[in-house]
């Protein structure tokens, strides 16, 4: 009797706390935004600028998030080494762009810059994909029937191995991407500042995501990937090569991440052995946000996170006179991860895990 009373009290306290948390979050967002907007400190152009950079960042998150979500969908595991695949892509791109710069090719004009970027992306994909397949083969495949926690730990191990392998090869220093003059120019639109780099990142990301979506929805192998994600044994009974579907999934995710690595590095102009860590966790957040396992969810989650991270600090916090709110963008991103996990673990588009298992 006594225990149950204490239990009931704790439960009540937790429920109250969660409610207060909801109210607090809503209050911060609503009041903060109202105060910021009314202060009139920022012009419309500033807000539009924030939306644009949020879109750019968000489409990179979306590209990476796809790899997390597809691998989760097919193996029910979080591939924590995915951020390192992204980092490998960024490194591969670095060498291509630098070589092009040294040859004096890079900055001859928009065309040579674009050719360099396309080659860098292709090389990044070609480097990132085999690394991911190797990780799958060595670190995950032998554990496919192990309890769920085991491949997760193996993934964290793989992540460290990759980070320190790159550190071993390239040292702890930061490599600066050469300046691509063309990317810094702004689009000839009056009022808003949109750089070519934003346009290129967003367009490349959307082209790749559309391609992936069509592949998964329209092709035979893509449909097989969805079938294997639902039920491996039955898929095998239909003659589907389950391993091939899994390897293809890893390959697709890695290709997206490798390309995203180059885009990210073009945007932030640097790469080093830990480059994959933060964007990796952010993209994981995006995948959870959209509903892990759900492909459109990952895209949506990425774009949403990009916006919240870009506009959020200024819009929510500036009104409260928080000093340099932009430093708090990671706080906002990860607070959101916690809130989603607490209040809606199935994400925006996700179904309840229990239902999808039925």
């Amino acid at each position: 009797m006594k225990a149950s009373l204490i239990e009931r009290l704790t439960e009540g306290a937790i429920a109250t706390f969660l409610w207060l948390l909801r109210v607090a979050v809503v209050l911060v967002v609503v009041v903060g935004s109202a105060l910021t907007i009314m202060s009139g400190r920022y012009s419309l152009e500033v807000y539009v600028g924030l939306v644009v950079s949020g879109l750019t960042l968000g489409s990179i998150y979306a590209l990476i998030a796809l790899g997390y979500t597809m691998v989760y969908g097919i193996l029910r595991m979080i591939n924590f080494a995915h951020g390192e695949i992204f980092m490998a892509g960024a490194f591969a791109g670095y060498f291509v762009v630098t070589a092009s710069d040294k040859l004096g090719f890079l900055n001859q004009g928009p065309v040579t810059a674009m050719i360099t970027i396309v080659v860098a992306i292709l090389v990044a994909v070609a480097v990132a994909t085999p690394i991911a397949l190797l990780v799958e083969k060595i670190a995950y495949r032998p554990l496919r029937n192990a309890p769920r926690l085991v491949p997760l730990i193996s993934a964290i191990g793989a992540s460290f191995v990759l980070q320190y392998t790159f550190r071993g090869f390239f040292g702890p220093g930061i490599y600066s991407y050469p300046t691509v003059d063309f990317l810094d120019q702004t689009l000839p639109i009056s009022g808003v500042i949109v750089r070519y780099v934003d346009v290129i990142v967003v367009i490349s990301a959307f082209v790749m995501m559309t391609g992936l979506y069509l592949f998964v929805m329209r092709t035979k192998l893509g449909t097989a990937i969805r079938a294997v994600s639902e039920d491996k044994d039955t898929a095998a009974l239909m003659g589907i090569d389950v391993n091939r579907a899994i390897v293809t999934t890893f390959g697709l995710g890695a290709a997206m991440a490798g390309a995203a690595g180059v885009l990210y590095a073009l945007l932030f102009r640097q790469v080093f052995f830990l480059t994959g860590f933060v964007p990796g966790i952010k993209a994981f957040t995006a995948a959870v946000l959209g509903g892990i396992g759900n492909i459109p969810g990952a895209m949506l989650g990425g774009l949403f996170l990009g916006q919240v991270e870009s506009i959020g600090p200024t819009l929510f916090l500036d009104g409260f006179n928080v000093p340099s709110p932009n430093q708090l963008k990671d706080v906002i991103a990860f607070t959101m991860l916690v809130l989603v996990l607490v209040f809606r673990p199935s994400g925006i588009l996700g179904e309840r895990i229990a239902r999808s298992r039925a």
Binding site: R226, D233, A236, L237, M238, G239
Partner: protein, 240 residues
């Protein structure tokens, strides 16, 4: 007429960890026959089918198709050799459409025309599926799901069809429909191994039957004889 065995299960032993689920099961299925495997819950019927399909490994013994051993061959390759299983509980790809489910059944087919012919045939057998071709399979009724499960398995054009409790959970009309379908497939030349709890119906359409108890075959005879067998009548037909 000399019967030619098409599928032979030869003294297989299957373990789940320490559980000895099959203790030397042997079956022979001749070309064009319907053979039924009956037994109580947990007797090892599903395990037997899964051992044939290569989903569970057998520690001892062999499975042979047309005299060639297929033990150790990966499940997805066994489909290509001509054995397809309709698993227990229908096992739809719930988020795929009806048509996509059928296409997955035809995964081993390489020619688009063969896939289309298979889909047309499934829709001809089960017109209900045609009306629902773009609907996701998870929203189908139990009966429709069973039709889809059978239609999907037929896509690969199996020589031997393994059916695991196809009448489970269906209303009597639908049970009849499923058994009619099985008879039709038999008439068209498909060899069938039918696992059933509904022993009465199974023994009516089967040529021969095996009775399995706790991982061992305890009886095997012509279906007509099993129908008259006292043990079978008591244990599986509910006749005292």
């Amino acid at each position: 007429m000399n019967p030619t065995p098409i599928l032979e299960v030869d003294d297989i032993h299957v373990y789940y960890g320490n559980i000895h689920a099959l203790k030397g099961v042997s079956l022979t299925i001749n070309k064009g026959e319907i053979v039924t495997l009956i037994g109580a819950n947990g007797a090892g019927k599903t395990t037997t089918l899964n051992a044939i399909s290569g989903l569970v490994p057998s520690r001892e013994g062999q499975v042979r198709l047309r005299g060639e051993t297929i033990s150790g061959v990966a499940s997805h390759l066994i489909v290509g050799r001509g054995i397809v299983q309709v698993p227990e509980g229908r096992r739809m790809f719930a988020r795929l459409t009806v048509e996509e489910n059928l296409r997955m059944g035809g995964y081993t087919l390489t020619r688009a025309a063969d896939v289309q012919a298979g889909i047309d045939r499934a829709f001809e057998m089960f017109p209900r599926l045609k009306e629902r071709r773009t609907q996701v399979a998870g929203t189908l009724s139990g009966g429709e799901q069973q039709m889809l499960a059978i239609g999907r398995a037929l896509m690969a054009g199996p020589e031997v069809l393994l059916l695991d409790e196809p009448s489970m959970g269906l209303a009597p009309v639908l049970v009849d429909f499923v058994f009619d379908t099985i008879s039709r497939l038999h008439a068209e030349g498909t060899t069938i191994l039918l696992v059933e709890q509904n022993a009465r119906m199974a023994l009516q359409i089967a040529d021969r039957g095996y009775v399995i108890e706790t991982g061992m075959i305890v009886l095997s005879d012509l279906a007509a004889n099993l129908r008259e067998n006292d043990t079978v009548r008591k244990a599986y037909l509910g006749i005292v």
